[in-house]
């Protein structure tokens, strides 16, 4: 049986990562911006696991676990910031938060 080459995993990872980056640029709502970063982190996980499968190692899966843990911490802190921004300023669109600009 022919195994799946590394190129296929890398293609899926690159496409998902580009979608995540594009989502962080183009989204207006703060929560959906955070969701797009989660998508980009998952794309990196796919690259790690695919390279692991190709190389026959297990180190990339350990790093994928670390990335999952850090993404959980990032979601907690980021959503806390979103809630406090909404409570203090009553906005949740990214172009209305200009406190540090002017």
């Amino acid at each position: 049986m022919k195994t799946i080459p590394l190129e296929a995993y890398m293609a899926v990872s690159i496409i998902l990562f580009g979608l995540g980056v594009f989502g962080t640029i183009v989204r207006r709502n703060l929560i959906t911006v955070l969701m797009s970063t989660e998508l980009a982190l998952n794309a990196v996980n796919v690259a790690f696991v695919g390279a692991d499968y190709h190389l026959g190692l297990a180190d990339g899966q350990v790093f994928a676990l670390f990335i999952i843990a850090l993404a959980a911490a990032e979601a907690a802190v980021g959503l806390g910031i979103v809630i406090s921004i909404f409570r203090l300023r009553r906005v949740e669109s990214t172009d209305e938060i200009t406190d540090m600009r002017d």
Binding site: M1, K2, T3, I4, L6, A8, M10, V12, I14, L16, G18, L19, G20, V21, F22, G23, I25, V26, R27, R28, N29, I31, T32, M35, S36, E38, N42, V46, V49, G50, D52, Y53, H54, L55, G56, L57, A58, D59, Q61, V62, A64, L65, F66, I68, A69, A71, A72, A73, A75, V77, L79, G80, I81, I83, S84, L88, E92, S93, D99, D102
Partner: protein
Amino acid sequence: MIQWSAFLLFSLLAIASGMGVVLLPNPVYVILSLLSALVAVAGIFFVAGAELVGALQLLIYAVAVTVFYVFVLTAVPWEKALKKDSHFRVEGVLSFPILLLLYFEMLIVFLLGVSVSPKGKIRELSKQIGNTEVIGGILFSKYFLVFELVSLVLLIGMIGAVVIGRKEAQTYEDHTP
């Protein structure tokens, strides 16, 4: 053959759900589409033989983090956000060539780095004793310090989320013009 079909199914589902995350207007549809993408990525992990990472992806991401996002979506009233446009359309059109450039650059970097020689020294061991034991052995011997540091980062993130999200005794005055 069945491996290829499962991989194609999960990867196409992941890419379609990722496009849904970027393109759909309503935040509830976006969180559902993100959930679908996470489950599809977990399927890709299972196809690649990473059972532990796939199971933890399902447990942590697809359950805990997604439910957390849904809680925040219900806590924040977003009727005002629904009235406005959900995307920066001009910026999206302007940054789309940069996205294509990013794709091109990553393809070039990957084609230059594709000559990595496969080592495969843990594959035999992984066939003998299973994926979870191999990851546990590496995690608690080679990466033990990193493991402890990640637990510290999680603790600090929890404290930071409590401190940031707590209700203030007095709200700060708005001095912006």
